[in-house]
């Protein structure tokens, strides 16, 4: 059974801190690793990582994938209160009838205090 595990489950920091969120995966037919931010209901897309060792960056957020050790990290620098959310990691299935199916981790709840 495919499994995605995130750590920590929750994190409380102050504005300006840097945080690192972790995601490990054990999946068959792995294709990509995706990160989403969920504030109210709809997860919003952050990154999709397919190749190992190539950092993707968007503003203060960055992410990288290690396909040998089967993990990914999401970094947020100079955190702001607006970064408070649940961050979800998901593996994307490569083929067969489950093509494109996402398997999610349980999420990391990030709280940023002023």
């Amino acid at each position: 059974e495919d499994k995605v595990v995130q750590s920590p489950l929750s994190l409380v920091v102050h504005e300006g801190d840097t945080v690192t969120l972790n995601c490990s995966y054990e999946v068959t037919n792995f294709r990509s690793l995706l990160w989403y931010k969920q504030e109210k209901k709809a997860p919003t897309f952050l990154f999709m990582l397919t190749s190992s060792g190539i950092e993707k960056k968007s503003g203060r957020l960055s992410s990288i994938l290690d396909k040998k050790e089967l993990f990914s990290i999401l970094n947020i620098t100079a955190t702001q209160t607006g970064d408070s959310a649940v961050y979800l990691c998901a593996s994307k299935n490569a083929g067969g009838t489950s093509y494109g199916k996402l398997t999610f981790g349980q999420g990391t709840i990030l709280t940023v205090h002023p």
């Binding site: 294709r31 397919t50 490569a94 489950s98 199916k101 349980q106 999420g107």
Partner: protein, 115 residues
């Protein structure tokens, strides 16, 4: 532009009743996915449609759950004889194609509460 929409946003029903949850994907997206998210958990896959057909329904928990997408656009998730354990947020997502190069765009979800 219009994103994925889901109706209703909230649904409260009594145990044993039947409910229908609707998803309107982004226009032109051929792949449509339903997920269920319980409190404190990540979304769990339920069913995937490619066009009108259910390509993978392995995530449906039992035969009380059924979903259709008759014209390859709007999809309806149907739950019969609801149980309190069905209470969750039901998320729908669509993608231009199911392939690995495409992200999934999520709707705001329907929060289902079974009393």
């Amino acid at each position: 532009g219009a994103g994925v929409s889901q109706t209703p946003s909230n649904k409260v029903t009594e145990k044993g009743k039947y409910v229908e949850l609707r998803c309107d994907p982004i226009s032109g997206h051929t792949a449509l996915y339903w997920y269920r998210q319980s409190l404190g958990q990540g979304p769990e896959f339920l069913i995937y449609f490619q066009g009108t057909g259910a390509a993978d329904d392995s995530g449906l928990p039992n035969d009380r759950f059924f979903a259709v997408r008759p014209e390859g656009s709007v999809s309806t998730l149907k739950i019969q004889r609801t149980e309190r354990g069905d209470s969750a947020v039901y998320l729908c997502a669509s993608s231009p194609l199911p392939g690995s190069g495409y992200e999934q765009y999520f709707g705001p979800g329907t929060r289902l509460t079974v009393t």
